[in-house]
Subunit: 421 residues, 2 copies
Amino acid sequence: MTPKDIQDYMLHMGQQARQAARALLRADTAARNHALLTIADTVEAREVALMAENRKDLEAGRAAGLDAAMLDRLAFNPERLAAMADGLRQIAALPDPVGAITDLNYRPSGIQVGRMRVPLGVIGIIYESRPNVTVDAAGLCLKSGNAAILRGGSEAFHSNRALAECIREALEASGLPADAVQVVGTTDRAAVGELLRLKEWVDVIVPRGGKGLIARVSEESQIPVIKHLDGICHVYIDDHADLEKAVRVTVNAKTQRYGTCNTTETLLLAESIAARALSALVPLFAEKGVELRGCERCRGYEPQMPAATEEDWETEYLAPILSIRVVNGLDEAIEHINHYGSHHTDAILTEDYTRARRFLREVDSSSVMVNASTRFADGFEYGLGAEIGISTDKLHARGPVGLEGLTTLKFVVLGDGQIRE
Amino acid sequence: MTPKDIQDYMLHMGQQARQAARALLRADTAARNHALLTIADTVEAREVALMAENRKDLEAGRAAGLDAAMLDRLAFNPERLAAMADGLRQIAALPDPVGAITDLNYRPSGIQVGRMRVPLGVIGIIYESRPNVTVDAAGLCLKSGNAAILRGGSEAFHSNRALAECIREALEASGLPADAVQVVGTTDRAAVGELLRLKEWVDVIVPRGGKGLIARVSEESQIPVIKHLDGICHVYIDDHADLEKAVRVTVNAKTQRYGTCNTTETLLLAESIAARALSALVPLFAEKGVELRGCERCRGYEPQMPAATEEDWETEYLAPILSIRVVNGLDEAIEHINHYGSHHTDAILTEDYTRARRFLREVDSSSVMVNASTRFADGFEYGLGAEIGISTDKLHARGPVGLEGLTTLKFVVLGDGQIRE
């Protein structure tokens, strides 16, 4: 396609999405849930055809030299298809956020004023290899009454196209607009650029993938972006911590998984507990193969530990590396976190009531925790039912973004002929 | 100042604001309310000095040929200064939004998860002539725990600087950081451009003023903007309307004030009630000097009425002009509003329950009303206490933006040593 063709193609997609979004405003709870269940059934019924299309991507991926981990992320099998279908059934079972009216109160003028939760409209989702995102994102958008434009990775092109057909047929069979979920049908990278310019037709963009993708989307988008940048998470062991709990939580926060955004990257230790904490933690981390890098005071206790540099405090390792700093106490810990952190997830480990209360209030992060592993920062663990991503922004959605983050509130006013004097 | 000087000046202001915002996270409800009351007292105590500074602006304005209406908006008098002080006292009396924790529930893992309302951080407000915005905006930002950078119009430079001094002294006397409210001390327009680039230091920009200002700020800003564009508001008189109520509300919605964004610009009439509605409304609007422009069907009833063009449906007149269209019924009315409207405020006038219910759900606007004048779309009328502006955006804040719109929610997690399995 020529650049002009891609521009026209994406514009048309945007306009169709807007029209579908308007029609979705009339779709009641039962209709949207029925569509979700029908998509689930269709995905399961099409197992053979989906596997065949997926094989095309896997063959192309092998030919292009994708590594084993990427090929694994790409691959369908009956269990994974069943898991996609189950995910849709779980979304269908969640309470409908759309149309809920809250805080409807009478005002002195005689009008009643309240707020109704409504869909955002059209959501553009740009993601990388895993094709299950196609189904998950379609499910969350439909449940919340939004139309979706999905742009998956080129390495999953055939798989995504086949899933898109399942979704389209199920939408038609359910009486919802077929354009409520559209999958971009070209692997040309220019299509992403065009999508990010459709500000009249698309209300929000959600990028899901590596830092390169998110940086490009944030930079280029003329549409608001719900995004997630770094996850430089901290654990602070206060001098009033229960050492047994502190050690257990710290090891879990660092080692339960290394590559996730809610993994702890820096450990802060109150001075008076530093020696005891280090002597418990150093052997445990050594056993798990975690490299430790310490500040000068830390190396006073553990002289063999390599020195942490200024750069370490600003690094999301996503690897078995932990930087450790000894601080005077709570004030210095909060200052360090607010200065070097990425405002993602930070935890204090303490039995001291007042310090726990101050930490919760004063640490400026999307999740603040007392005596719990930073690894809990997750839509499912928080009870949101499902998540479309984690936001490190402050406006609109902060932290794990579930169905509520795909909606907004409008004011409703009920009167009986009132006029303003 | 050279461009580099302005850049350094604004960068320094941003850094100081961020530092002040961190300190405000530690300021409790009493401290922030005390500061608001002290500013109020200071403004009243400085009446003579403030009037003298204001006279400099008025003299410069007269020399520059500002019209009488602009000079009036600019002028201080004892009543207006007292009104500013009272506004601050009212803000102080509002409930504190900061720190409120909601929905704190136990999860199966044993952790408790809830959400805490917290300040956005640093808010940049760019506004035009009225200097009372300096005091109102400072009050709303402080109450919600945010630091503010205020950039008023150059024609109010001396007045704003004098108010800024009152605020600064009151902050210092109250033990809050003096940089919690900073007023840009240069009239150079380049300062606005620099402010809009401070994305590391400023969390949100609120422009208040004419369309030119808002368009420029939205276009240039690298920081999220809470903005208000057009107000193309509609009244739809359904065929089941109570005609007496409908006439009263319609006249109020159009004529109570012409220049406000929640004034109705287009009237939609269900066909079966059109003749009766027009015969009641036409003389009332004639009496008030409102020019009517009708669609072809409308002119079937009122042949002397000038014809409305496509452009009329897309115009915010802000003037005594009303466009009128006859529609087949509810579906066509909703389609017209969602297509031509600006998603601001729209009302249905009807006694029909089902149509009222559908209108509330299907009209995609920040305020949707039944049997009430669109003029009610206002922070005070809605009970928000005060408003910093009205948002026609969907993300974050929609409709009148009060204290809550200057805050966000973070997750709080309370555990007892839980780890993720």
